[in-house]
């Protein structure tokens, strides 16, 4: 899932201060699971902004809306009636959702209420861990299901750097060395030999914005384009 954290309240309040009617738009998928931008969080933020506006003598109204996914066309459409009534939309979706909302409703100013942090897993109640950098060239088969791109600060692809010390990383003695974890995992499953293969350098062309079409839909979209 995509993990995000709410922006500092002051930043949000300042960004929305100039708008009279603000729609606080939540998203019911990833950001709801990470307790940042779901319907409840949108309600709480709207209540906070409303109190702050009154304390600062600002005539503002905050409406709450929430759709299942802001990154999906048919769900996003459900916000249209509320957006029509708003002077600005404060989106609590991830970066993808905020951008799609801005693209679909280009006439209304769109404000970001969260910082999208990473793709990760829910480690415990209220705790999330980064697990994937979305690098488009997955080596997890070779590395025992442990990602050196996201867990190693240097993104080492062929074994640890010289800073690995007794299983810990030189950047932080509390942090596990990703490659120590990888070797232990591979040893346990008898696959250490796989590390003999050299992983070639990254193809940095992936810095371009990505787009993918499912093979089953290739014909449909090539015909239209």
């Amino acid at each position: 899932m995509i993990v995000a954290e709410r922006k500092p309240f002051e930043e949000i309040a300042e960004a929305s201060a100039g708008f009279r009617r603000v729609l606080v738009a939540g998203c019911g998928t990833c950001v709801a699971v990470c307790l940042t931008g779901g319907e409840k969080e949108a309600g709480i933020l709207a209540a906070q902004l409303d109190i702050a506006a009154q304390l600062n003598q600002r005539e503002q109204a905050f409406e709450v809306g929430c759709v299942e996914r802001q990154c999906d066309r048919e769900f996003l459409d459900e916000l249209a009636p509320q957006i029509e009534q708003a002077d600005a939309v404060l989106s609590l979706a991830c970066g993808a959702g905020i951008q799609f909302l801005a693209e679909k409703f280009p006439e209304v100013p769109v404000l970001a209420g969260v910082n999208t942090t990473f793709i990760g897993i829910n480690d415990d109640v209220g705790v999330w861990q980064e697990k994937c950098r979305s690098c488009r060239d997955c080596v997890l088969t070779l590395t025992g299901g442990i990602c050196p791109m996201s867990l190693c600060p240097k993104g080492m692809l062929n074994g640890p750097c010289g800073g690995s010390d007794d299983g810990k990383c030189e950047t932080d003695p509390e942090r596990d060395c990703a490659w120590a974890l990888i070797s232990a995992r591979l040893e346990r499953t008898g696959r250490l030999g796989g590390l003999e293969a050299i992983v070639p350098a990254r193809d940095c062309r992936n810095a371009l914005p990505g787009k993918q079409v499912h093979p089953a839909y290739e014909r449909r979209y090539s015909a239209h384009e």
Binding site: F9, E10, A13, R20, E39, K40, G43, I44, A46, A47, Q48, L49, D50, I51, A52, Q54, L55, N56, E59, Q60, A61, F62, E63, V64, G65, C66
Partner: protein, 153 residues
Amino acid sequence: MGDKYEPKILALICTYCTYTAADMAGSMRLQYPPNVRIVKLLCTGKVDVMYLLAAFRAGADAVMVSGCEIGDCHFLEGNLRAKERVAHAKVLLDELGLGGDRLEMFHIGASDAPKWAEAVQKMTRRALELGPNPLRGRAMAAPQAASGRELST
């Protein structure tokens, strides 16, 4: 209402412990300020951050949440959840400028009527020190007040 500031304090309290203590305080004829308005909940685990913010939007000068003593919750950990939510709501109140001191969590056992009276006295003193909630009389009347959709909490 005269010029004298009489704080309005909302108390969200659990039926098993604090409400019993408050009831006993009455039976014992214990004296405490009449500024508190009690809302009895089955368990403080029912308390939601939205309720707390709604109370301040409606003009409450202070809000107290009071559940069972730690370890004594009839629902095992409802009071622990309330404690965490109150702590979080205090941060939210600090952020928006109203101040987290207007909100407090208490743990009062069913037989501890004097502790309830003390808690109300403490919150009343604090509400007097902090002065009236600036949203008093304004929040509910404001035509532009946020109409946040009801949450199914």
